[in-house]
Symmetry: C2
Subunit: 115 residues, 2 copies
DNA sequence: CCAACCTTACCACAGTTATGTCAAGGTGTC
DNA sequence: GACACCTTGACATAACTGTGGTAAGGTTGG
């Protein structure tokens, strides 16, 4: 079968076995278990683990941040609340043009430097 | 004029002045400044502050989490990367029905409890 | 049946977050 | 000009995150 133990998965993704257990505890990547309780990682989960490492390294994103996005995705009430809050923000919304952002950044400067 | 000093804003939102300064430092709520450098909160920002407190209290959301959503909102590349990662997740996507979620939660139970 | 894996449960530790307090100095109002 | 506010900066700290160990014990494959 094509599933991997925790240390095999670790070897193939660059994480330590310790961290794979930690990731499971946070709910981010939760492998199935064998009859005896051993973690069994599937290829799809290896891809998830690699992607997670890339996100962290490439964008300076915390595990926490990703966990929150996952949470957002499955909790519709929370999602609605956050979107409502964002609507009150001066920050340009989803469809905003690059120009909107530049202008916004300039105003932010004005605000910060105002004297 | 209808703007508020840091302690007036604090009194009306339930935050401490210290926390309002902290929130500014994180970029979440950044008030304008008077000529002498005093923070001037506008009514809209009071609403933002109240909403932030409600999110934290009502949903157990960290400031970090909100800051990340704001970041997601303005960084299209990051947003694309995160969405790509989410696509590989076993978690049902945006348009999923309630039934999908129930089934997913059950499988998660199976995975966690498998023995 | 034994070596090499796996499990959980702890202890440890540096770094960050969220929060308070205090000091030294500028501002504004009566 | 005194008093109540504002500013920044520093120090303090409890809780949490991310990460590493180690120990005591179960599983498995040659």
């Amino acid at each position: 079968m094509s599933t991997y133990t925790v240390s095999q998965a670790a070897a193939q993704t660059g994480w330590s076995p310790r961290m794979l257990r930690y990731l499971e505890s946070t709910g981010l990547v939760v492998p199935a278990r064998s009859a005896a309780g051993y973690r069994r990682y599937e290829p799809q989960e290896l891809a998830l683990l690699r992607g997670l490492a890339e996100l962290r390294q490439g964008f300076d994103v915390e595990l926490d941040d990703i966990a929150f996005v996952v949470r957002l995705r499955r909790d519709a009430r929370l999602r609605a609340a956050v979107e409502h809050w964002l609507a009150g923000t001066a920050v340009p919304a989803e469809g905003a043009s690059e120009a909107d952002w530049i202008e916004w950044e300039q105003r932010k400067h004005e605000r910060l430097l105002a004297a």
